[in-house]
């Protein structure tokens, strides 16, 4: 829209018609204070802090509800305005308990800041304060009523942004109070958005309250380790007896693709890291029992055994199962380690989406993948299968708010009445018997809709009309779940040539594991083992395709597979395999906990999790993001280091595995201290251009160089990546090979409150599950 010009504090500014005065001021750096105004939520005009003087208007106006007008003359600061704001703060403090020294929000409280900037040092109120005891509304939400300043941000974010509507306002005037939907407790998605958005300490989190003061933590913005959406979560860490303890997760760093959003897992599901069952020492089986050992003993034993099996029985007698929660660097390194050092193609991971078919169908279609940011902007979205509210909370949030704020049209095709149908323009319920795949088949042809496809009121007419709409709609974004696999992926992409696509996988780095070639017959970048690629030339790859997980198990039973290396995965538990099947094989498991698989291992190595290491994750859309080290538990090691040390123990030349030691003119730290801004910039520049001296083979950035060079689509801007942005990787130049014998693609079936092994050891998540009486699967997936 055309820009209007107005004057604020004597300064001529321009803003598009329809802009709120408060936003127009903010855009040119004029601060107008407010409590109740929050971008992208409905307007409230409750707090009266944003009062400004608009010429020709009789009284002071609220800048948050006033739209800019041509020629408007505004004053944002004057004695009158200052006096008005001062009175507002005085009123808010009238019944505020001023228990800042013990309040969770103390030090990061908007009321404190406002009082400091605009408030009065004295108060005219003599009345006794009206005290109410704090209430626990759910395992994670606490409410301290006297601290509440009634800005209604929590009510609006819960209803409008989350579509949960669990919070309301009861009574009127001075007796108004925020109320939960079940009278004395909440029944909701436990996302904690209300806590994050609360400007004061009225809503506090069960996971963090009274644990520490905000200024005693260091805050690290990293990528969440739970689902495949790739939200940025800010972890507050504090020194502890065992290293660095993560004490809080929140969304303080709003720079991620998730902007304001974070679900319960990203916010509270970090506590598995400090669980009492966490392994912190390697275990070696001696006389049938797992006994503590040193890392040296463990590496020596593994190195000897792996080399022995490889040299005696050949690489095909060794299997490797990778993880969907390790970094790209670790998955790539594992993939390379298996092929180069162990000389085997028996490599697999828990696939939850058909990325090989997806990449193959997108070959030479450069603009056909979408990033998570696109979901918030696309004018039309088709969602086939999956239940994003449960399995991809950020995706659901982006879709929901795109519909709410941009009037995007949503078409939902699902066999179940998922929650997002509430935002849908068309909800087509299809048969539970592979209805989603049948819909794709119907979409790609011109025949009439088959009778048994539509369910619960979805007639053949509805389906045919939907097909017509989808074919004609411009800028369509298609999001599909694991219901669509193999040939259906190909037909879907062929049927909608104008669309962009997102293929949904379930774990934090499922996409990375696929892109990095944790497949028995594919290398990184979906290059076929049997084909040719720069990777083949650099690596030297065993010729024949390897075995998928299920066949490795069969081979182990037949005593053909003699060693198995499992990194951050629990195939025994997940696939319900007979644990005795591996009794003859030498089994090495690297994990945080003694899972069903680790319990039968010959050597168990205590691994660090994604919150305790550096590297990159690729979310399900293909957005590459930097993972930063936040916590630290002594005794554990990152999977990256472990793989390098095993290769070393096998006598392998590490330089062939990791391109380190490029430059030796390194600044060894003298001028790089955190105290010296100038020197830090120097370091950032070097890192940005991939020139920092990778001094040891334990530096994941050395492998990132190789990934960027050899994995198609990963040649993105290193500068943007390091700046904390997400960089979209493309799939149009991959090897585009499809597995000869595709392994099963099994969804993780995690819900909003479960997260495989991580969720099993998270007290916060378990307490919510108990409160909601949800039964998780008996054996957690990875």
């Amino acid at each position: 829209m055309a820009d209007l010009t107005l004057t604020v504090d004597g300064k001529k500014i321009a803003a598009p018609a329809g802009t709120l005065l408060i936003e127009a001021c903010k855009n040119v750096g004029i601060e107008v204070p407010s409590f109740c105004y929050y971008p992208n939520l409905s307007l409230q005009g409750a707090c009266r802090m944003c009062l400004v003087k608009v010429e020709k208007m009789p009284k002071l106006q609220t800048a948050c509800t006033t739209v800019v007008g041509e020629g408007m003359v505004v004053t944002s600061d004057s004695d009158e305005i200052r006096q008005a704001r001062k009175s507002m703060v005085e009123m808010l403090l009238g019944n505020h308990p001023l228990d800042c020294p013990v309040c969770d929000a103390g030090g990061e409280c908007e009321l404190q800041d406002m009082t400091f900037s605009y408030g009065a040092a004295e108060s005219k109120f003599m009345e006794a304060k009206n005290h109410k005891d704090e209430q626990q509304w759910s395992p994670v939400v606490f409410f301290d009523r006297p601290r509440c300043i009634l800005c209604y941000r929590c009510v609006r974010v819960c209803g409008e942004a989350m579509d949960v509507w669990a919070l309301g306002v009861q009574n009127r005037g001075v007796s108004s109070v925020i109320a939960p939907n079940k009278q004395d407790h909440l029944e909701c998605e436990e996302c904690g958005m209300c806590i994050d958005i609360c400007p004061v300490g009225a809503l506090t989190s069960g996971a963090y309250r009274y644990k520490t003061r905000p200024w005693e933590m260091k805050h690290v913005g990293t990528i969440c380790t739970h689902c495949g959406d790739g939200c940025k979560t800010t972890l507050g860490v504090r020194r502890s007896d065992t290293g660095m303890e993560i004490v809080r997760g929140d969304n303080r760093d709003k720079s991620g693709t998730n902007s304001d959003f974070l679900c319960i897992k990203g916010r509270y599901g970090f506590d598995f890291a400090n669980h009492e069952y966490r392994l912190t020492q390697p275990l070696i089986r001696k006389d049938g029992k797992l006994s503590p050992a040193t890392w040296e003993e463990a590496f020596e034993l593994i190195g000897k055994k792996f080399a022995e099996v490889r040299d005696r029985d050949g690489g095909q007698a060794i299997g490797v199962i990778g993880s969907t929660r390790t970094t790209n660097e670790e998955s790539y390194l594992l993939s390379k380690f298996a092929r180069l050092v162990l000389k085997t193609n028996n490599v697999d991971h828990h696939s939850t989406a058909d990325f090989p078919a997806f990449a193959a169908a997108l070959r030479d279609k450069p603009e056909a993948t979408a990033s998570m940011a696109d979901v918030f902007a696309a004018p039309a979205i088709l969602l086939i299968g999956n239940d994003p509210t449960e399995q991809h909370p950020l995706l659901a949030y982006q879709i929901r708010n795109n519909v709410r704020l941009h009037r995007s049209r949503l078409y939902v095709v699902n066999s179940r009445p998922i929650k997002l149908r509430r935002q849908a323009t068309v909800f087509a319920q299809v048969s539970e018997d592979n209805g989603e795949a049948a819909f794709v088949d119907f979409l790609s042809k011109n025949n009439p809709a088959p009778e048994p496809l539509g369910m619960s009121g979805t007639t053949t007419g509805v389906l045919e009309k939907l097909r017509e709409t989808l074919r004609s709609v411009k800028d369509l974004l298609v999001v599909f779940g694991s219901e669509i696999q193999g040939i259906s992926v190909t037909s879907l992409i062929a049927a909608l040539p104008q669309a962009k696509f997102i293929c949904l996988a379930d774990y934090a780095n499922s996409r990375g594991a696929a892109d990095m070639g944790l497949y028995p017959d594919l290398l990184p970048g979906y290059h076929a083992i049997a084909g040719r690629s720069p990777l083949h030339e650099e690596w030297g790859v065993p010729d024949t395709a390897g075995l998928p997980t299920s066949e490795m198990f069969t081979a182990a039973k037949e005593n053909k597979l003699k060693a198995l290396y499992v990194v951050g995965s629990n195939p025994i538990g997940r696939l319900n395999l007979n644990p005795f099947g591996f009794s003859k094989a030498f089994l090495v498991v690297q994990d945080m906990f003694l899972t069903e698989t680790a319990a039968i291992a010959d050597v168990v190595l205590p691994a660090a999790n994604a919150y305790e290491k550096t590297g990159t994750f690729t979310n399900t859309c293909g957005d590459l993001q930097l993972v930063k080290k936040a916590g630290d538990v002594s005794g554990t090691k990152a999977d990256f280091e472990v793989i390098v040390r095993i290769a070393d123990a096998m006598g392998f030349d590490i330089k062939k595995l990791i391109p380190f030691g490029g430059g030796m003119h390194a600044d060894m730290g003298q001028s790089r201290g955190a105290q010296s801004g100038e020197a830090d910039r120097h370091a950032v520049w070097l890192e940005m251009h991939g020139l920092e001296p990778k001094l040891s083979p334990l530096d994941p950035m050395a492998i990132l160089d190789e990934i960027q060079r050899l994995v198609p689509g990963y040649d993105v801007s290193r500068m943007n990546l390091l700046a904390g942005n997400s960089e979209h990787t493309r799939l149009d130049k991959t090897g585009a090979a499809v597995p000869q014998q595709p392994g099963p693609i099994l969804p993780a079936n995690d819900t909003l409150f479960t997260s495989g092994t991580l969720g099993r050891y998270s007290r916060a998540l378990n307490s919510v599950i108990e409160a909601h009486e949800i039964k998780p699967a008996e054996v957690a997936a990875d």
């Binding site: 509507w165 309301g168 009861q170 009574n171 009127r172 109320a179 939907n181």
Partner: protein
């Protein structure tokens, strides 16, 4: 939850008059309260379901309006105005008189379930202050004696 035919007829007629269903909430609540006597949990659940609202939203509105109640009231709800006009003309005495006569305080109900007493803000009858409202009937230019007669009449009505 079942309402009378009369309620159903009114409800069916009223809803289409509003641009969105939720707009019919306040009148629906009033009709339901007149019929049931108060807004019970069942009534709230039923109305929420009919108007596509959450029970919380219905409760929010009920708690906002003092004329809506979630607690049972007596058969006759005696609402005595003590706002400015009534106050200067003796409204507080009327309230006090009622409290003594009925033996109850603000928002309390007599043991026989006949009367609930309530001190209310302006009921728009300033010209004839002091005034009181019993259910939907107005009583004006009150004196303690006149109030006695009014209350006795209601009591008699209840006996019939």
């Amino acid at each position: 939850m079942k309402f009378s035919d009369e309620f159903e007829q009114r409800f069916a007629e009223m809803v289409p008059h509003y641009p969105t269903k939720r707009s019919a909430l306040v009148p629906t609540l009033l009709y339901a309260q007149d019929e049931v006597g108060f807004l019970s949990d069942d009534v709230i659940a039923e109305i929420a379901a009919r108007l596509d609202l959450t029970e919380l939203e219905v409760r929010n509105v009920i708690s906002y309006y003092s004329m809506l109640t979630t607690k049972p009231r007596g058969k006759f709800n005696v609402q005595v105005c003590t706002n400015i006009s009534c106050m200067v003309r003796g409204g507080e005495e009327i309230l006090h008189h009622c409290a003594t006569k009925l033996g109850i305080g603000h928002k309390h109900t007599t043991a026989d379930g006949l009367f609930t007493l309530e001190e209310v803000e302006c009921i728009g009858a300033c010209s004839w202050a002091p005034a009181a409202q019993v259910n939907y009937d107005f009583h004006e230019n009150l004196t303690p004696e006149k109030m006695d007669g009014i209350l006795d009449n209601y009591k008699k009505k209840a006996m019939q």
